[in-house]
Structures are given as C-alpha cells and as structure tokens.
C-alpha cells in the first residue's frame, strides 16, 4: 500500500522506538499532525515556543540515553530551534529535529515561512538532510537516528518540504545501514591500551578527569571499578557529574573555573592525568600552558578531533570510553606484577584529603537573606541524590554543581558547552516525560527562568510535575559577579528591576507557587512544593550579591584560585 511522506515519517519514528515528540505545528507540517493521531504510541507534547521543544527533546535524551525528537514547522519554527540544536551539539546529545519546509518548487523563492534551515544549522549539527524525494525519506530518517546516537552523539536535522510529505510511495523501512563515509571507531587499539596501563602502573599521583563522554557511553560502572580498584582519585567536568559516586572518598568534586580547591590542586600536581570522555574545554583548563604541568596525559575519546585539539597527549586512545576502560581492566587482569595500589597512592590520597579538609566548598550561613548554597544543600538533603536535577546557566548552575552530590549518571542535566540560559526548565519537562514517577527539579535563577517561562503552560496542561526552585537574587548573578570582581562593580544591565511576582505567575498558569525568605523555612516549603502533584515554582529570595567560589579568573592557571 502506498503511503504519504507524512505517514512514512511517523511509521519510521514508531519503528525507531520513539515514544515522545516535543513539537509545535505550522503550515508546512500540518500533514504530519494530520496523521499523528493514527500513531497512538507516539505521544506529542505541544510546547509554547519551539526552543522549549528542542530543549525538552534534549532533556529527554540526556535523562534516558535515547534519541530525543523535536518536530517544528518551517521558517520561524525552524530558526527558533537553533539555540537548542547548538546546545545539544556542544554537549554531544542525540536529538533528531524534524523541520517542515516549503514545497520543493518554491524553495529558493523567498516563499512564506521559508528559511534555509539546512544552511543555518550546518555548523551546529552532526549532520542534516533536505529530503527532495519521498522515496529517500525512510532511509534518511533511519540514517538520522543512527548518526544521532552512534559514535560521538549529536543533533541531526531532517528538513521536509510539504510536497514530499504529501507525495506517496511504497513504504519499506531499511533493516540495516551501511555508510561508506561514516564508521566511528569504537574498539580501542590494544597497543595504546597497554601503554596507558603501563603508565598507570608506574604512576604515584594519578588522577582521573572524566567528562560527558563517560555518561553518553554508559561507562560509569567501568570508571568506578577502575578508580576504586586502583585507588585513583576522580574529578570531573560539569558534564561528567554523576558518572562517579559523589559520596565516594575518592571523589574530589568538579574541576575548572568553579571547581573545588582539591580538584584543581590535584590537576596541578598529578603525574598522570587520565582524561576520559572529556575535551579540555577552556572553562576546565584555565591557562592551558599551566594545565597539569607535571603530568603525562592519557586521553580516551571517541572523537579523533578531540585529541590534541587543545593539549598535547602522550597516549591517545580513540575509542568508546566504555570499551577503552574495559580494555584497561582486561589488561590489568593479565598483568603479572601489579603494585599494591593502596601503598603506592596513599601519600597522594593523604595530600588530597588534606586539601579537601582545609578548603571545602563553603559559604557563611545566614537566616535572612537566605544563602543560595544553603538552598541547594537542602534540596540535596531532601532528595538524597535521587532526583533528576536540571539547571539554568550561571550562578544557579555552579551552585547546583558544587553543593549537590550526584550518585548516578543522567541525574544532572545542564547546558555545559553552550551555556544556554532557559535550558533547564524545558529540559526538566523532557526528563519528567521520560520518568513520570521521579522527582525532577530545575534549579534556576530569576534571570534565566524567564527565558522559557512560557513552558509553564506546557507543564500544567500535561500535568508534568516539574519543580522549579528559583534562587532569586534580583541579578544576572554570574555577570554581576564578573562586574564586581573585574569591572569595578559597574553593574550595567545586570539588575533585574521589576521581576514578576513568580508566585502569582505560577498561579496564573495554574501551577502552585511558593515564596521563602528565611532559611528556617526552606526545608518546610521545599517539602511542601515537592509534595504537590503538579508543577510548582518555589521563589527563594536569596542574598543578592553572593558570589560563586572558588573562582579561577579567565586565563589564569587552575591553581590560582580566588577562594572567598
């Protein structure tokens, strides 16, 4: 039986195992929406702005490890997703974006709601397609999902002209895929693994620096085994939080610009840096020439371009992190004379423990105004690390990273690479859709929550019980902090005059709203909000000029931290 392009698309999504689509209709995609009710296994969530759709698909993908799907119309519908596509690209998140397009005869004519989204998105997708013939649709969708989730994952966009959606052909979904130009290398080179193992055996002061790749390759278990058995301390990037248990004594906390003292000092003194699924981003390394100055570097990454992009590497291993770590384990298991790791590493671990003791992340408690760090600590206490935490970007994000602990992968969803304000709330919606029974909390600022606040309507209409905790300091806090420290306190354009009343705003949307002004009330109100069956906003009025510390000024060495 012949089917239309729209039906074929939906059939492909069904066969890919898609269960949730975040989207917003428009003229170019009405055909898809027309047939959507015929596919009851595809749940559609109507957002209020396309940026919400793409972030929700991204949040769904980060929380589950499955490909997130976003469906929007041509023109403005497509361009509104670009920020979210770039967000997913920078953090290597598997998302498939379906965009409508004007009919093929009109392409290039500046037709109504026409935009060259394939051209616009090209620098921030893993790959993209313009489907010109309905006969190509099925294999393109198959390839799009394959590309999105394999190798280094990333967003893939499929642009569908309206006439292609209406054209008919026989549907046949390809069983398998072979692409002559795309074959990610997953298995590690045995010789490189042996070299890395040899360095591990000889090292006195090893350090694991893990990143988002450990989470996307599901390598947390292998990483934990290696570090615990060899007694190697662990730090991670923002993206890597949750891959190693945050309550393990070997855990040093995050490294980088707002990393812990112990983690940054560890980088300064380690003799062997084992970088796993991380890419030596500038927010992590600080001044690159002073990064891990005494260390040999082993770098495991599935993407060859990550290797030697920013730093020189002694032993590169281009491979899937899980397979590489497993390879090291196998190599260790056949190694005849392993050192007694406890004895060899103990002086190093003692040193690290002393740094941790002397310089933990800290703040000074106050009842009023409330300290934002206290709120994050309370959230952690109440949820015991079982919640899925998302964040917006800025101070709220850094405090969430510093004062929570994460025990499992995919429990901390944040825009690391692009730093997209407005990410956290729609991402939380995506995560909650995937896990309706878990507690999903967006730790937000009063600035960034307003960037996608319209999604309250989405959360309320589908009863997606996301909890938003706003650390409301009345400022764009991180920029204000930079202005205070490096720009002579010239608070230009960072004061959020006349914020809305977030409690009333929540109520206007039909959600629950709470306000807290005293530290003594924080626990009670959070409990109350978490117990609400639907979405809720907790507006926490916090100290306006609290700063995030430690802080490595931009361009300084990691060990040159401002501590208070």
């Amino acid at each position: 039986m012949e089917r239309t392009g729209a039906q074929i698309l939906l059939e492909c999504l069904r066969q890919e195992g898609v269960d949730s689509i975040f989207g917003f209709p428009g003229g170019a995609v009405i055909d898809i929406y027309h047939h959507l009710p015929d596919y009851p296994s595809l749940r559609h969530f109507l957002v209020r702005h396309e940026q919400g759709a793409i972030h929700a698909a991204d949040g769904y993908a980060r929380a589950t490890g499955q490909v997130g799907v976003c469906l929007v119309t041509s023109g403005p519908g497509a361009t509104n997703t670009v920020t979210g596509i770039a967000t997913a690209y920078m953090d290597s998140i598997p998302v498939v974006i379906i965009t409508g397009q004007v009919p093929t005869p009109l392409i290039g004519n500046d037709a109504f709601q026409e935009v060259d989204i394939v051209g616009i998105s090209r620098p921030c997708v893993k790959h993209n397609y313009l489907v010109k013939d309905v006969k190509d649709l099925a294999w393109i969708v198959k390839q799009a999902f394959y590309l999105a989730r394999t190798g280094r994952p990333g967003p893939v966009l499929v642009d569908l002209p309206k006439d292609v959606l209406q054209a008919k052909t026989l549907f046949e979904y390809p069983e398998s895929i072979s692409m002559r130009s795309y074959n990610p290398n997953l298995a590690p080179n045995r010789r490189q693994v042996r070299k890395a193992t040899e360095l591990l055996r000889r090292s006195q002061r090893p350090l694991v620096y893990s990143g988002g790749g450990v989470i996307s390759s599901d390598a947390a278990e292998e990483l934990t085994w290696l570090c615990r058995n060899l007694r190697i301390p662990v730090t991670s990037t923002l993206m890597g939080l949750g891959a190693f248990p945050g309550d393990d004594p070997l855990w040093l906390g995050m490294l980088g610009m707002h990393g812990t003292y112990a983690a940054n000092m560890a980088v300064g003194h380690t003799d062997l840096l084992l970088a796993v699924g991380a890419r030596f981003d500038d927010r992590v390394t600080g001044k690159i020439s002073s990064f891990a100055p005494a260390a040999q570097v082993v770098h495991i990454d599935v993407d060859p371009t990550s290797i030697r992009k920013n730093v020189n590497v002694d032993v590169p291993i281009v491979a899937d992190c899980r397979l590489a770590l497993r390879g090291i384990r196998e190599e260790l298991e056949i190694c005849p004379d392993l050192p007694d790791w406890n004895t060899v590493h103990q002086p190093w671990l003692d040193q690290l423990a002393e740094w941790q003791r002397n310089h933990p992340v800290r703040y000074t408690y106050a009842d009023e105004p409330i300290k934002p760090q206290f709120v994050v600590e309370k959230i952690y206490e109440l949820t015991k690390g079982e919640a899925i935490i998302t964040t917006e970007v800025g101070q709220n994000q850094m405090w969430a990273a510093q004062f929570s602990r994460f025990h499992r992968p995919r429990t901390f969803l944040t825009s690391g690479g692009l730093g997209t304000m407005g990410y956290g709330f729609p991402a939380a919606i995506g995560a909650q859709v995937a896990f309706p029974d878990r507690l999903v909390i967006d730790i937000a600022g009063d600035g960034s929550i307003q960037m996608n606040i319209q999604e309250m309507a989405t959360a309320v209409s589908y009863n997606i019980p996301v909890k938003i905790v706003i650390l409301n300091n009345g400022y764009l806090g991180m920029v204000r902090q930079w202005q205070e420290l490096f720009y002579a306190r010239n608070y230009c354009a960072t004061c959020m005059h006349l914020n809305p009343d977030f409690v009333k705003l929540a109520e206007a949307y039909g959600a629950a709203g709470f306000r807290v002004t005293k530290a003594a009330d924080v626990e009670r109100v959070l409990k109350e909000a978490f117990a609400v069956p639907g979405p809720a906003i907790v507006d926490v009025v916090v100290e306006p000029e609290e700063n995030v510390y430690p802080m490595v000024p931009a361009g300084a060495a990691l060990t040159d931290m401002l501590l208070v």
Binding site: V118, G119, R122, P123, K126, H127, L130, L147, M179, R180, S181, Y182, D303, P304, T305, I307, R308, K309
Partner: protein
C-alpha cells in the same frame, strides 16, 4: 607550512558548503580549492591547499574526516606527488612587444589560446613555482586578466625513499 589535501566526498548538494563552512567556522585557511566529479558514480574529488602548523593541519584533516559526506582524506604533502595548476593569462601584447611576450610564452611552454590586436591569452600549466615565475615575467607588460584553476594533485605510484 603549505599542505595539499586530496578529499573524496559524496557528490551531493551542500557538500561544498560543508567543507568550506568547516574551514571558515574554525578559522582555518583555504589557499586554493578545486572540485570535480571522479569516474566513480556519486563521488567528487576536492583538492585543497591550506597552510598551518602541524597541530592545525592535524585538526583540519580530522575535522574533514568527521564530516559525514567526506569519504577519504589524504595529505599529499609528505608523499611524492604530482602537482599541477592551470592558469589563463590575458597579457598586453602591443605590436612592438608581441615578440617578447611570445618568446617568454615559448620558454614556459605556454599555449596561445586567444589573440587580439593588442593582447594575447596564454594557457600555462605547472606547479606553483612555475606559475609565480611567469607571472613575475609578464607583469611588466601588464596582465589584463588572470584566472587559475587551483592546484590539482595526485600521489605518484612509485614512492621512493
């Protein structure tokens, strides 16, 4: 250092802008770029000359390989290879200097492909050194138009030590 890259790509719409966009987006430099279909269906060959230190060139090659539409990348710089470029030069050749222009053309084994009352169009093929040399020599006559193909290159079958 200058590098010559041979890049096999899937011949589909947008593949050129993917490659060019990669260079501009990451701040890499393209000196010359030549594209044409190969004898294999659906595959085109790009020859790109670019410059940068070793680390930059390594990144360029890896980034090119990462593009889904790129099938193969070979850096010809450290291989023995044949490298050619074809140039059309329209040069002033008034009666009194015409003989001199033709003599230079002869020495460089140029072909005269078009003639008019006061200019000649020469076709010359060679590597970059040869082209620089003839441009140098012809400049004093006045070059009116200049069009070049960009480098094309091929690995030699016999690689000597």
């Amino acid at each position: 250092m200058r590098h010559v890259l041979s890049v096999l790509v899937e011949n589909e719409p947008g593949v050129l802008s993917r490659v060019v966009g990669l260079f501009s987006g990451r701040g890499f430099n393209i000196e010359t770029l030549n594209v044409g279909p190969t004898l294999e269906d659906g595959i085109s060959l790009m020859t790109i000359t670019t410059a940068g230190d070793e680390q930059i060139i390594e990144q360029i090659i890896k980034q090119l390989r990462k593009l889904v539409t790129v099938v193969k990348v070979v850096d010809l710089t450290h291989l023995q290879s044949v490298e050619r470029e074809m140039v059309l030069i329209k040069v002033n050749a008034e009666d009194e200097r015409r003989a001199e222009v033709l003599r230079i053309a002869d020495i460089f084994r140029c072909k005269v492909v078009d003639v008019s009352g006061n200019d000649l169009t020469l076709e010359i093929t060679g590597d970059q050194g040869k082209i620089r040399a003839i441009v140098n020599l012809l400049q004093r006559f006045g070059i009116k138009e200049f069009a070049r193909t960009g480098t094309v290159a091929m690995r030699r079958s016999m690689q000597m030590e």
